[in-house]
Structures are given as C-alpha cells and as structure tokens.
Symmetry: C2
Subunit: 210 residues, 2 copies
Amino acid sequence: MIRNSNIDNFLYDFEHSCQKVQKKTFAKGETITSYIEKRNQFCILLSGNADLVRYDLNGNKTIVEHFSKNNIFGEVFYIVTTNNELLVEAKENCEVLFFIYDDINKKCQKNCKFHQTLTQYLPELILSKVIDLNMRIELLTKRSIRDKLLSYFSILSTRKLSTSFELPYSLTDLADYLSIDRSAMMRELKLLKEDGFVTKTGNRITLNYK
Amino acid sequence: MIRNSNIDNFLYDFEHSCQKVQKKTFAKGETITSYIEKRNQFCILLSGNADLVRYDLNGNKTIVEHFSKNNIFGEVFYIVTTNNELLVEAKENCEVLFFIYDDINKKCQKNCKFHQTLTQYLPELILSKVIDLNMRIELLTKRSIRDKLLSYFSILSTRKLSTSFELPYSLTDLADYLSIDRSAMMRELKLLKEDGFVTKTGNRITLNYK
DNA sequence: CATTTTTAGTTGCAAAAGCAACAAATTTCT
DNA sequence: AGAAATTTGTTGCTTTTGCAACTAAAAATG
C-alpha cells in the first residue's frame, strides 16, 4: 500500500527529457493558470503553494482548493461552467509542471523516465487528491460553524497525532476554506475558547476534550 | 481522451475468473458496507444506486455522496475519523464488486482479463470521481440556499444540454445533498418560482433565464 | 525602520436559515 | 384497493450567520 507514503521529490529531479511537459516558475501573487474548458490541462505543483480561487459575479472570493507540494490540479478535474472564473494563484513562489492529460497514457516517443515515473505514481497522487476532497466535503456538510471548526481541528489533530497543532492557514483563509463569514467564525472561535473546548496561542490550537 | 466516454458494461460481464474480487447483491435499504479504517476497501457499483450517509451523534443524517452505475467508492478514499459512522446504503437493488485496493496493482496470479480491464479503466473511473467531488464542493461552497439551488440546476442543465430536466433526487434528498434544511429549501424554491427564475412541474425543472 | 498592507479581533444590526409542527399529496406495500 | 409510509408544501418563531464598520496588532515592503 502506497497510501501516505512519502513520494517526495520523485518528479522534481526529472531530466527534462520529455517534450510534452513544460516546467514553469511563478512569483508570489501570480496567476498560474485559469481553468478553460476542454483544454485538458493537468498540473503538478513541485514547490510552493497555491490556491484555486473562484470570483463570482459579486466579486466575492472563495478558496475552492488549496495546493501544496506534489498536489495535482488543472481543468481536467473540473466541469467548467461559464458562471464564474476559476484561477490558480501562487501564494508563494511556485514551480509547476504542465501537460495535457491525454498525453499521459500515450507513450512518449522516447519512452522517457519521466513518463514512466509519472504513470507509476499517478494513481497514488489522484487517490490522495480524492481523500483531500472527501475531507473537505466532510467539513462543508457540517451544519454549523462550530461543527465545521471542531471537525477541522479534529482532522488536524489526527494528522499530527497530537491534540496541539499549528493552523496551516491564516484565520482569514480558514474562513474562506470553510466557506463561512470570517467575523462569524471569530465569534464562534471565541465561544469555543470560552466554553473550554479549545485553547489558542498564536496560531497554535490545543484541543481540550474530556 | 477518455473523459465522458461511455464505459458502460465493461466490468459487468467479467468472467469471475479473479479470486481477489467478490461480487455481491443487495436489496433496497440494505447496508452495502461501512467504512472501517485501514481496510483499504475499494468497491464498484455495477447496477442500482446507493448513498454514502453519515449519522452524527445527534442522529442527523447527511448524504455525503451519491453513487450510480460504475461509480467507485470505499474506505480507501477516506480518512475515517472516529466521530461518526459512514455507511453505504442501497437505494434500490444493487450489484457491487469488492476488493482490496492494494491488490489492484499487484498482478493477479492468472493475470486475468478482469484485472487488465480494471487497471485500464481505473484512471478514468477515478478522474470522473474527482470531477464529481469538485462539482459537489462547488455547490457546498456557495453561500446561500438560492445560490446552491441555482448552481445545481445550472449543472444539471449543462449536463442535459437543455434548460429543462428531471431532478435525480427527491427534494428531501436534495436538501441533504446540498446540506441545507429542507423547509428552508422549499421556501427558497418557492421564491425562485415566484421571481420567475424557474418553473417546476412534478420533478421537472425549467430554467427561465433572460 | 517607517509606512503601507494584511490579518486579527470586536460588535450592533439585519437577513437568512434552521427548527418544529402541521396538513396534503404521493408513493409503496400488502 | 386500502392502509401505511414517505414526500411535498407551508408557516410562525428562534437562532445562527452574514454584513458593515471599526480598532488593534502583525507582517510585508521599499
């Protein structure tokens, strides 16, 4: 079972032998790609981190997905509707591999090492994406802000094997990620502290369950 | 590109040659499986349809996911937390294939046709799952009941290539799927009708956009 | 290192959504 | 066909959440 194994730099040091793949670098704040229908674009984030954001007609921003090292993304995973624009924005400097999904299974002319490695790891990469998406849905289907926060904290706690952990986002981004109003989230967080469920020092959260 | 192609009965008529695979039948209402950690169970729904449901500590039910023909599911796609039970329930009579995810890539002793077919189609199956999950997240991140309904209708409309379509769920289930209160949803639906955005006859919806 | 920008933290008020409790209509079951 | 169960449709009331508008603190930037 390869789940949760450390795939680390498996793609990072590939030999640029493959003509079908492009590697690009982006500075913080730049737009890495926008999702355009039927392009079948597939991307791998080699370093840095980025957000898939949606801007609706009212200008509201939603963080649809967050990507970190070795996460995959691209329009190939989406049915793009005309209603709103989906953009991937670099949160810090990023290196990204781009290619067209159709090309993955087609054997590369040179039968390059990169292609071999990619097809070998692809199921694992997609599986971990599915797990992430399911986790997100788990959170989003919680009916109250309190439940969303507690579930999210519980997941982080399980991951770190500790009741104490750092928040990976700013509180502003966390509200976007949970798809709730920031001030309402702050209010609920305050209540959670007052009720003794959590302790917060800086961006470190400690769960106090009995 | 195999996306959106008709994979149809590719697994249905396999020759039962593979010992690692079990095929089981379920009657409407039966529990197909429950998600138990580290079992690495992977399932394919051959016929019928089923829901992944969560019952929380208050007894509230949430439809986490809905499965129809050729959809894949199983605990392998989940990080199972102890907080709540995840069950797959047959909504009508179902046929399901079960196996352990680890076995997929291991070559079957007999190198059976089933295994070959499965590995061939697996990326397509997982990809369509990712597309479904992303669509769901798109809906769940919408901030109001009105936006959720309109987005959902818009997706169905795009799929059917028509402004008129049947709802695949009962309204009760739709509310669970969108993770909103049913009576609040009914109220909003009424307003949408009154405002002339949609027309509803039976469970057929027609969008009236200008 | 001073200044701009972003993030955190608060609060009153308004709007939206949830809850509960029905009746009516449909569907399912025997 | 008749009874039972489920789904639809509705409403008054309550609670939660969102919105707007701030100040304070922290971080980024030239």
